[in-house]
């Protein structure tokens, strides 16, 4: 298989790298056009083979130095991304939140997200009560399930690893998760209902 550009060579947007499926696969920083893998950003070409005998994945690494952390390719929030958000308002049918971070990277400007009552957990979704799952001010890890209509993203906390990470009790103390359904205040020992994230 022959690639038009060698590993570690600089590429510009629009440069052809190789044939899709025969020479290489499209990785981050590239796109496919008319059967060829083409670079989308300015950077260094990196070819990595995930396993012996498989095609290399061509990706373009954006960054000024060849070693060290690479600046991420600029991209928007996509379906399936894990985001960190803070609950802003509650409604019997959904909770409105401000999406603060994508993965661990803070966003330049906050998006708006919506967690519907049927997306809070995976089991017994008709018996979920929003008030015993979230409260305003909670920090929640959620997954994007849809880009939603005009303003907000649709989020879900239906997995074990998703849910409230940090919350304050009504007295203002930081609470600790005691089960999947409850958090307790270490000072007053009162318990409040939350959909907690299971931290590995």
């Amino acid at each position: 298989m022959v690639m038009l550009v060698s590993d570690r060579d600089p590429v510009c947007p629009g440069d052809r790298i190789g044939r899709d499926g025969t020479d290489c696969l499209s990785g981050s920083g590239t796109h496919v056009w008319q059967g060829s893998v083409v670079a989308s950003v300015v950077g260094e070409l990196r070819c990595e083979r995930p396993a012996a005998g498989r095609l290399p994945v061509a990706s373009v690494r954006v960054g000024s130095r060849s070693e060290g952390p690479a600046a991420d390719v600029v991209s928007a929030i996509a379906i399936g991304d894990e985001v960190l958000c803070r609950v802003r308002r509650l409604n019997p049918r959904y909770a409105t939140c401000d999406v603060l971070c994508r993965g661990t990277k803070p966003l330049l400007k906050n998006f708006s997200g919506l967690i519907r009552v049927q997306d809070v957990r995976a089991t017994e979704i008709d018996k979920v009560s929003i008030i015993s799952s979230f409260r305003p001010g909670d920090l929640v890890r959620a997954e994007v399930i849809s880009l939603g209509e005009a303003q907000s993203l649709l989020l879900s906390t239906a997995k074990d690893s998703l849910g409230v990470l940090e919350a304050r009790s009504e007295q203002g103390e930081a609470m600790v998760a005691v089960s999947d359904e409850e958090m307790a205040c270490p000072v007053t020992k009162t318990r409040e209902g939350r959909k907690c994230a299971k931290v590995q």
Binding site: P13, G14, V38, V42, V74, A76, I77, L107, E149
Partner: protein, 240 residues
């Protein structure tokens, strides 16, 4: 090839030569995702790119809620204007020209951006023209494409722009301001070199004497030459 080589033009170029260019990144360092400063002979342009950021609610009533917005703004140099005559309208004023240039800039640049990767976001391009000599759209488009590339926004390729003017039956590539005013007709093309696609075409004047198709081909040839220059400047900027 229809360009006539009947001797040098006022600035010493032959009919088929483009003006010298100079492109540099990181012109604007505060808050902009990417920026570029370009000099195309005497036309000087600074472009800064902001974003991608979340789209403003209900801005412009766009029909596609998941699409990407490209917001272009152009600022022309402020010139001391003479008193406009009251009998005839003085033509489009500066604000209208800026809006028109921004629309042309947007149309030329939008096909080069990978919009699928930027759903529900808004990218803002602010272009300031410091000094103008000849076509403003061309330097703005090329400098903006350069700035978008340096800011890491996923692109399908670089956009280059070329203008051809028709003067006394002579075809002139990349005319200066003075040459442009003397031309009978002109055509400009914004070209996406990596895909071989034209993203913008602007023609005006009296085309009875010449074939517009041939002149558009000449424009595309000029765009290809500019593509080599811009690409070289982009690779050089990485080393800084």
């Amino acid at each position: 090839m229809t360009v006539d080589a009947d001797g040098p033009r006022p600035d010493g170029r032959m009919a088929a030569e483009c003006r010298p260019t100079f492109l540099r990144t990181s012109a604007v360092t505060s808050g902009a995702t990417g920026s570029a400063y370009g000099e195309f002979a005497r036309t000087r342009v600074v472009v800064s790119v902001f974003g991608p950021r979340p789209r403003d609610r209900g801005a412009g009533g766009s029909n596609d809620p998941h699409g990407m917005d490209l917001d272009c703004h152009v600022h022309l140099p402020f010139e001391a204007e003479e008193e406009p005559t009251s009998t005839t309208s003085a033509g489009p004023d500066r604000a209208e020209k800026e809006v028109l240039l921004a629309a042309k800039l947007r149309q030329s640049l939008l096909p080069s951006i990978d919009q699928d990767k930027l759903a529900k976001t808004c990218v803002e391009v602010q272009c300031t023209i410091l000094e103008s000599d000849g076509s403003d759209v061309g330097p703005a488009v090329m400098c903006a494409s350069f700035a978008l590339a340096t800011s890491g926004i996923p692109l399908y390729g670089l956009v280059t722009y070329c203008t051809v003017g028709l003067h006394d039956g002579r075809v002139l590539l990349d005319p200066t301001g003075g040459e442009l005013e003397a031309c009978d007709a002109e055509v400009s093309v914004a070209y996406l070199g990596s895909r071989g696609q034209v993203s913008f075409l602007d023609a005006s004047g009296d085309w009875s004497g010449r074939s517009m198709t041939e002149c558009v081909d000449t424009c595309v040839e000029g765009c290809r030459k500019m593509q080599v220059l811009v690409r070289g400047a982009l690779l050089n900027s990485r080393k800084e």
